[in-house]
Symmetry: C2
Subunit: 311 residues, 2 copies
């Protein structure tokens, strides 16, 4: 399709930025993609893989003349970046981000945006447990939601163009004008990650007792947890620090419910356990119906002859 | 290969039993497979799918003349089944099970085994979130561990034959003569399942507040939890009731660690969070190296064009 932007600046060159670059190149959405990352190694990898046309040594240089700037750095790094690039943004430029937390990002970025620049916060609900410029792939966003939370007064044309870009990369776009979805993300993403990290930590402690058995006989449930718990530590530290209130709220509900189940186990209350486990089955069906996952069995992954030989 | 058993009786016709039957048929490991399940619907499905040669109306009839009896029922049903079949077992017959808990199963089954019958407890570390006779497939056990925990005094030839059967279905067999692996399974499988059930329950409560957003924007971490939490309620109820002590031990460690992370979030202690998240990355690498999972990104599943169209 015709390019939607003349020059896109990617600030950060990790999984999300590199996937956006691959997708934008594949669909011809930008005439030029300029990249910046703090790490020289990441910049070199981006050039080598060819998903950016050039890299710059500073974020300020990268945004020069760009009509779209995508902030794809950990949430904790957003404020310093916004302060650095603010004075260098071209009039009419759109700035967006991909942070997993929205209220904190808006508070960090918006004050640094000059008049006539449109900051449109966003969050693609997509990712893998891998990180860095070599982990990106063009199809990451296909069929996934991309939330946009435009701020009152934003030029509708700027929002519309950004939306078209997300859709051209295969994403389904939801505009949430009512407010940032931090509580929803706390329950669907942030708290599950914290719990997975914790469970893997417990197993790691125990491993010193039972040697390698925990890894050796790693079963379905735990395998999935370790996958989640292999995600980028810096990104997740910043998520929890900046979405503190919603995460603590959900964690409080979680421990209440867990204690109720723990008590049922201690008291041998099988009816309570069975009723609870039956109820949770239904929500899985809802997710499959909403198209966010397939019903294909997943614990059996790596089970075909060829795949087993690969592992 | 030459059949290892003349007649195999499957008691229970769910995911594990039907997968065993498909695999034994594919590899020619049994001359005849007889099936029993409490539910007439399951028996009819087994016949219709053809993974058993015939079904019986009682477990006692099913084991008649069998040289291998596989108990594949929820752990809580083991004792009644063992009591029923005990008097009908042929001399020299091997009885094994696939229960996720071993101490409780040994206590339930062993007292009912007559002289000259070998009870060899076992546990395949394999499964999916689906259940029932229609969910089985022949490759479920390929590349997965099958734990055998033979009791002192068991005929080594009987253990050897059972081992060969598991290996012929593609499993890697580990004999754990030292004792049942209930603590290891509590950390790698049982507690992760309980936690996933809990998190999905919390989300379900919240859904009443935020309508369908939790499902609609279901992100990576939570999607994996719902998959785990869709597992068979009866099986899991019995696991927690019968592996109570190990589960409560691991749950205690888990909540301790979770509270430490929760405190770090509350106090804004980013260094603690980052160090913890970095440590858990390493155990994931260990699992990939142990061949229990692949390093292919999983959160991106269902991302290819064709797959998205299917969902």
């Amino acid at each position: 399709m015709t390019a939607l932007y003349n020059r896109v600046a990617l600030i950060g060159l990790g999984l999300i930025a590199s996937s956006m670059a691959h997708a934008m190149k594949a669909e011809g959405l930008a005439d030029e993609i300029v990249g910046f990352a703090k790490s020289a190694e990441s910049r070199a990898a981006a050039l080598e893989l060819g998903f950016v046309d050039r890299v710059t040594e500073t974020a300020a240089e990268a945004v020069h003349g760009a009509d779209l700037v995508m902030l794809a750095v950990p949430v904790g790094a957003m404020e310093a970046i916004a302060a650095e690039i603010g004075p260098h943004l071209a009039p009419g430029c759109t700035v967006s981000d991909v942070g997993s937390v929205k209220q904190a990002v808006i508070a960090a970025v918006q004050p640094h945006m000059p008049e006539g620049v449109w900051f449109i916060p966003g969050h693609p609900i997509a990712g893998t447990e891998h990180s860095g410029p070599r982990s990106g792939f063009a199809s990451l966003f296909r069929g996934r939601w991309w939330l946009l939370t435009p701020i009152a007064g934003t030029d509708p044309e700027a929002t519309h163009r950004l939306r078209r870009r997300c859709e051209a990369m295969g994403a389904k776009v939801a505009e949430m004008v009512a407010g940032p979805p931090d509580l929803v993300l706390a329950v669907t993403s942030h708290t599950p990650h914290l719990i997975a990290y914790t469970m893997v930590g417990v197993a790691d402690d125990l491993r010193r007792v039972t040697d390698s058995e925990v890894i050796q006989y790693s079963a379905a449930g735990f395998r999935d947890f370790t996958r989640i718990a292999a995600s980028d530590p810096t990104m997740w530290r910043d998520v929890f620090l900046t979405n503190r209130e919603a995460t603590l709220d959900i964690l409080g509900r979680f421990t209440e419910e867990l204690f109720a189940l723990q008590r049922a186990i201690r008291l041998g209350d099988g009816a309570h356990l069975h009723a609870y486990f039956t109820r949770t089955r239904a929500i899985r069906r809802g997710i499959i119906e909403a198209g966010q996952d397939t019903s294909a069995p997943d614990f059996g992954r790596g089970q075909t002859k060829d795949e087993v030989q690969e592992t």
